[in-house]
Symmetry: none
Subunit: 179 residues, 2 copies
DNA sequence: GGGCTATGAATGAACG
DNA sequence: CGTTCATTCATAGCCC
């Protein structure tokens, strides 16, 4: 599926201070936090559990927990969630609707995505979610978040840009219309 | 990250476009985007026209346009501009270090010895550029009212982390409760 | 084959 | 929050 797929590559990269147990930092330059895979795993787990904007207290606890796996500060956790959340949205937008699809699709079907699911704080995950994967890393990731209602307000801004039939490619003039 | 990437592509690369001449981009499988010459041309052109950080809408339009020349996604365009801008800045920075010791007291326009890289740099924002018509976009909505209410609530979301199963990590629990 | 360079992709950090 | 910057990882393409 080349269409939507984009070559993401699992990092699995070299030395990301894998399980050293102590200071995650591999001794070399410590300009910025370099999360260990365990830390990422935990954070991701939390995120997938629905946690999106941890409070200060939560951040404290989480970072405290994660410090076991390596050096980490509260702000790292804070930023991590900020970024993760932002990027998820961003990705949704950028994955875009491009490529052959906006054709003349009459979609009078105008659902009113307005006030329905405006759940600001999606789910409150509860329950016991098992953190800390036993047996080091289990790569079994494949779930998709299904409790994410996905608000995603994409107001269709009518762009004049006539994409009508891209088949005959416009005169390569990206400077498109000024008027 | 994990979100939907799923598509970790296996390194099946090997034969990369065998003899398609490079720009042909014959749908080589996943991997990373390999812009065609035309695509690069357009992007570069846009960049030189002063476009540095296209908005989401612009990105989508550009990518739609460029999709004619070959497979491309919005994020490719996004990254392209990000990288291009960053590298330009990076280069310039390098160059500045270049003069590390010689202090150019004389400020007059001395022809820089580097003609190789014609870095069009300064912000020459072209008014007329007006990439995409945004006339329809009603900017007057200015208010926006972004009330700043971050501390929405500390609802009792209890994450019961039943940890304590593995390793020597203390049996701590990330139980975040109301506070 | 093995470095080297250019560049796509990713993400931590921070700004407005 | 959304957006932007800086740094880094990962590869394709060259050149030796």
């Amino acid at each position: 599926m080349d269409d939507g797929m984009s070559g993401f590559c699992i990092k699995a990269s070299s030395f990301r201070s894998g399980g050293d147990g102590g200071n995650g930092n591999s001794g070399t330059k410590c300009g910025r936090w370099n999360p260990t895979i365990e830390q990422v795993k935990v954070l991701t787990d939390l995120f997938r559990s629905g946690l999106r904007t941890p409070s200060t207290d939560q951040i404290q606890k989480i970072s405290s927990q994660l410090s076991f796996y390596g050096k980490i500060e509260s702000k790292n956790v804070f930023y991590w969630f900020q970024n993760h959340k932002a990027r998820e949205r961003q990705k949704r937008r950028k994955v875009s609707i491009d490529d052959k699809d906006i054709i003349r699709r009459d979609q009078e079907n105008k659902p009113s995505p307005k006030q329905i699911n405006q759940v600001s704080e999606p789910v409150r995950v509860i329950e016991t979610l098992q953190l800390f994967p036993i047996n080091s890393l289990n790569e079994s990731e494949g779930e998709k978040l299904r409790f994410h209602a996905n608000e995603y307000c994409k107001e269709a801004s009518a762009f004049t840009y006539t994409v009508g039939t891209e088949m005959d490619l416009p005169p390569l003039d990206l400077r498109l219309s000024f008027h």
